[in-house]
Symmetry: C2
Subunit: 140 residues, 2 copies
Amino acid sequence: MEKVATILRQSGYKLTPQRRAVVSEIAMCHEHLTPAALYERVHRKHKKIGLVTVYRTLEVLTELGLICQVHGEGVQRSYLLRRPSGHHHHLVCSGCGKVVDFAQCNITRLEQKLSRETGFAIDSHLLEFLGRCRECRRAV
Amino acid sequence: MEKVATILRQSGYKLTPQRRAVVSEIAMCHEHLTPAALYERVHRKHKKIGLVTVYRTLEVLTELGLICQVHGEGVQRSYLLRRPSGHHHHLVCSGCGKVVDFAQCNITRLEQKLSRETGFAIDSHLLEFLGRCRECRRAV
DNA sequence: CTGACTGCAAATAGTTTGCATGACG
DNA sequence: CGTCATGCAAACTATTTGCAGTCAG
């Protein structure tokens, strides 16, 4: 949280109470949140905040690389605090939405092989696992 | 194309000229197409077709597992004919949108490891590579 | 102070739905 | 011929933008 505040200031953004609230909520939560869900949570505590501000804050945070998008299922976007800096992937629970990060992925070799075979210059990859976490499996 | 027609009929769907046109266009194209892009192409040849029909056809085709969604970049959905049946992934060109399928992915071991460490029951995974194809790299 | 930020309302973009008409099987 | 499919328009949902007032630095 404090780290985020520092980065914001250093990048020339103002640290308003609204932004504080949004960041705090997103940092506190271990699930991925849609803009609407995040707004609902923030709004519960700070009545005066608007959905638009949530969108705008998400935009800033994305630009600074502090949060990242989760793809998976559904039409809406969904965001998550980027905890480990650098390369990582997500394991998403389809039951409760909880997300576990992991950094390890041994696909460099596959990447090289594909690159060789297809002539593509591969920039990045997207890897997500979808499953059900321990608690959700028990709950059935 | 004929295979698709058969599956449609067997599943109790009617084979209208519109559906024919949509399927034919999607089968012909090696890129992933958004509903709007697909509509534009189909509409060029068959003036009377509506965007809504494209959406509805895509819905049917998805239900039958004949096409699949590409995630990657952008907000819009994007569809692609499912050529190899069964498990496969995509390599998407950020320049021209061309998509190369590949089936090989050695992440079963990673999947098992994650499953063991986190207690998740992993159902599926999403793996996409993003890069620039040979032609697009040349074109710069 | 002043430029960046907020909140509202309205505009957009993408997608879905209701309904009368049309055509596949 | 009955039923499912189509096309239009209108509804809906998610997101973006314009603008006047407000506030952090």
